[in-house]
Amino acid sequence: MSARALRRRAKSVAMTGVVAGLAILAVLPLLLIFADLLHKGATSIDWNFFVKSPVPAGESGGGVANAIVGTGIIVALACLAGIPVGVGTGLYLAEYGGGRLGWLVRFVADVMNGTPSIVVGISAWTWLVRPAGHFSAIAGGAALAILMVPMLARTTEEMVRLVPNSLREAALALGYPRWRTSLAVVARTALAGIVTGALVAVARIAGETAPLLFTALGNLNFSTTVTEPMQTLSLQIYVYATGPFEEWHRLAWASALVLMGMVLVLSIAARWATRSRHAAG
């Protein structure tokens, strides 16, 4: 082997090492963040944390039950509006999206995926909070729904497109009308994938803070009334992280651990749903 070939081989090996090193460096922060969350969060979590609402600053022993329940309610509200519209849009793109309108909707969905969530937040404030005269969980849910639709539309489209055409043809040949073919055969087959998309979208919006600052606002008390301000874990973390008390910082880490746990469970569930689909297919 000539010296030149050797040099080229050496460069290839070296660059492989550099690329692998960069990849490790990129994953490192995640490991650091998880380690800190576990280390600082786990020591603060006790029974009170889950069943009590916050106590006045300076006292100890409070919890974030109001924020945990609030996160659930606001995310559920967002799903109520976001899932039908998102999945419907995705079905449209997969079934009828070949033309100009399809292109436009696809493009808008991708562009909106990158729209800053705070901008959506102040729009929701203008439409739902200002006319009503007060902050509400519904406004927060609506803002999150707007963020959810584009994500869900694109994953649904992708999943529905994976359904083999022969399945559709078989249903049509048996005399099914198109709409029943689309819903009962095509969408049904893609269901696991659509569920995955929904879980990923929920994981994403569950941690959103910016669009909730001026809609759901936050609430120190336990509230399940959707027309009133409501607390979420993300808002709670923001308030506690910016506060001056050691106790608050402790609760912020604990809340972050719980929120991250939720996101993690949703992400793993999403992965698991598609994995079983691949295994079945």
Partner: protein, 313 residues
């Protein structure tokens, strides 16, 4: 004929319902844009083009100029990009070209998780872990090495442009990596095989055959990351220091458009103050929409038809 017509009413109905749902999305984008424009109109009318150039932001005197925030938004995002791009491309190239098969899934999943960490959790980590780390590990050597440049002058209090740039870098790595990875996967295997067949080493094949083929898509991926960084709110608000200053030093506190809205929107007691914040939102909206649209077109050009990046985005 009549019977057939009644029996088939389901099909057109189905189509119209789906079309109606799909139309909501473009209408929503239009609604957000025009609402911002309407709410921003009073401030834009009063300050005109100077709104973008003036550095005075004085709610007491009712004078508003967004230059420091626009500057801070762009600089912090560029700083994040400079740090994130090599790391993200490293991940993408490693996963598509070099990683053993058993390693691809777990590393890919880890990177996806990085994209799923909520912004406010990054912010929390930034305040209590990253900033102390920067203070003890990163800033002293940076100052020793580059202290003579205007970029590393002054006192380092912690909350700073530098902290914002680093946290943004960590946050956008997964986006750029995920989209670049899909772009690289869309490069036909024949590109690679032809280069290897001509006697190229593996790195030469990647460098001279795979990367050039995916160049437009990778640029698109980088722009998507840039768009993300520009609009990122919570993490930046927590670490950037939130000061209406325009300076070269990365160690000094700064401000971004998104952070200003998050901080000041609920304090905006006068109509003009509120309108000025909407104007900031409008500028942010226009910048991110433009960058995202260009990025999408670039990515689509490479991986046409595939829902590129949708898993991570």
């Amino acid at each position: 004929m009549v019977r057939r017509h009644t029996r088939n009413i389901g099909d057109p109905a189905y189509r119209w319902i789906l079309t109606g749902l799909a139309l909501l999305l473009p209408l929503l984008l239009l609604a957000v844009g025009s609402q911002l424009a309407i709410s921003a109109a009073p401030a834009l009318k009063k300050f005109g083009f100077g709104f973008l150039l003036s550095t005075t932001w004085d709610p007491v005197a009712e004078v508003y100029g967004a230059a420091p925030m626009i500057f801070g938004t762009i600089v912090s995002s560029l700083l994040g990009l400079i740090i994130a791009v090599p790391l993200a491309l490293g991940v993408a190239i490693f996963l598509t070209e070099f990683a053993p098969r058993w390693l691809r899934q777990p590393v890919g999943f880890l990177v996806e998780l990085l994209a799923a960490v909520p912004s406010v959790v990054y912010g929390l980590w930034g305040v209590f872990v990253l900033i102390p780390l920067l203070r003890t590990i990163a800033v002293p050597p940076l100052r020793a090495l580059l202290g003579w440049t205007p970029f590393f002058k002054g006192v380092f209090y912690g909350n700073s442009m530098l902290a914002a740039g680093v946290i943004l870098a960590i946050m956008i790595v997964p986006y750029i990596a995920a989209v670049s990875r899909e772009v690289l996967q869309a490069v036909p295997a024949t590109q690679r095989e032809a280069a290897l067949g001509l006697g190229a080493t593996r790195w030469e094949a990647v460098w001279s055959a795979v990367l050039p083929y995916g160049r437009a898509g990778i640029i698109g991926a980088i722009m998507l990351g840039f768009g993300r960084a520009l609009g990122e709110t919570m993490a930046v608000t927590l670490v950037i220091g939130n000061r209406h200053d325009l300076g070269a030093s990365l160690l000094a506190p700064a401000y971004t458009m998104a952070a200003a809205i998050a901080n000041e929107f609920s304090e905006a007691t006068t109509q003009m103050y509120l309108s000025a914040l909407f104007a900031v939102g409008l500028v942010l909206f226009i910048i991110t929409i433009t960058i995202n649209a260009m990025a999408r077109l670039l990515v689509w050009r490479v991986a046409r038809g595939a829902a590129v990046g949708s898993k991570a985005l």
